[in-house]
Structures are given as structure tokens and as C-alpha cells.
């Protein structure tokens, strides 16, 4: 039986929460589960093109351990999920507009499938399970 698609709304810029979203998304995608990730609010800041890990990640009790131990980088986990599974990533068009950013110019190269609105994402999510982080 095909797995229900998983929809993840990532809103937080806290390292722990971005890490969790990346772990859930990538493991689900490589486990034959279609995944869509909608990145909005503060979370979009972590995906700024050219940012170093130190600029990208902060916050959460485990942040320092993530940065020093051999924990997979969250952006790389999202990339693995896309490369090895059925996973799409969307940047919230509202926050892009507010920042005067464009998905294909200002966000991590090759990671996003484009900009999307909340309405479309929520409508698509009706066919699966939605979690918000």
C-alpha cells in the first residue's frame, strides 16, 4: 500500500526545529513516502543563499552539539531527501515578497522547487498528513 504523502510546514528558524524537519522529511522521502515541505516565516532565513552554517543555524538546547558533533547538516539532509526520494520544497511566496527575495536567486541553490502560496499548499495537504514545526 502506498504511504500517505507527508506535508511539513516549517516556520521556525531554531536550529533544532530545522534539524527535526530535515530529518523527518529526508527519512520519510527515502522510505517511499512522498514529502512536500513548505518553508515560511522565520524559517526562510536559514535558507539564504551563501549563508555559512554559523549564520544559518542558531537556537535550541542541542544547537552547540549539532555544530560540533558529526550530525548531518540540515540543508544536506533536505538535499538527500530530494535526491533519493520523492520530495518537493516550496518557499512561501508571502515571506519572499516581504523580503524582496526570489526563490531561484536568494535561496539555497537547487533546493527549492519554487515559490508557493499557503492556500495551494493547504489544499494539497488535504490528501495526506500535515505537521507544523
Amino acid at each position: 500500500m502506498a504511504s500517505k504523502p507527508l506535508f511539513i510546514m516549517l516556520c521556525s528558524d531554531e536550529h533544532e526545529k530545522i534539524q527535526l524537519a530535515a530529518m523527518v522529511a529526508s527519512v520519510a522521502a527515502v522510505s517511499d513516502r512522498p514529502v512536500q515541505v513548505f518553508v515560511t516565516m522565520n524559517a526562510i532565513l536559514a535558507f539564504r543563499r551563501g549563508a555559512t552554517p554559523a549564520e544559518r543555524y542558531h537556537g535550541g538546547h542541542f544547537h552547540e552539539k549539532f555544530m560540533t558533533a558529526k550530525v548531518p547538516d540540515a540543508i544536506e539532509l533536505f538535499e538527500h531527501g530530494k535526491m533519493l526520494g520523492d520530495m518537493k520544497m516550496w518557499a512561501c511566496s508571502m515571506v519572499l515578497d516581504l523580503h524582496h527575495w526570489e526563490a531561484d536567486k536568494d535561496l539555497t541553490e537547487g533546493l527549492f522547487d519554487g515559490a508557493a502560496g499557503l492556500t495551494v499548499f493547504l489544499a494539497d495537504a488535504e490528501e495526506g498528513e500535515l505537521i507544523t514545526i
Binding site: 527515502v30 558529526k70 550530525v71 548531518p72 538527500h80
Partner: protein, 76 residues
Amino acid sequence: MAERQTIDARGAFCPGPLMELIAALKLAQIGDEIEVLSSDKGSVNDIPAWVTKVGHANVGTTEKDGYWSVVVKKAK
């Protein structure tokens, strides 16, 4: 002829060892075996569960000195 390769993922935390295994499986031929060396106990439990879910074969898990050897056979 089936081949066997070893991935040394010791020191890497979840889901690093699993991701390394999956990348290797993509390149392997059906029947090939891949051994993952991992010191992450979570991954040692997760890898066999993932292998069963997606339809590959668990050959076995062996505890070594401070790490585990998990052997998987590509079945599809």
C-alpha cells in the same frame, strides 16, 4: 557476481549512516551486500527497520568493540 562493500559511518549520528547506506544502495547491483559500520545505536535499530520497509534484505547485525556492523543485501 555479487560484491560487498563497507561504509565506515562510525561517529556519524542519525540519520547519517542510513543516508550513506541509501546512497550506496542506489549505485549497487541486485544481490550486492553493503556493510555499514555505525557507532550510533539509533541507526543500528533504524537501518534494519528501513530495509524491511522498502523491500531489501537484512543479512545481520553484529556488535563489535564500541560499534555495530549492519549488513544489508540489495534485493530490488
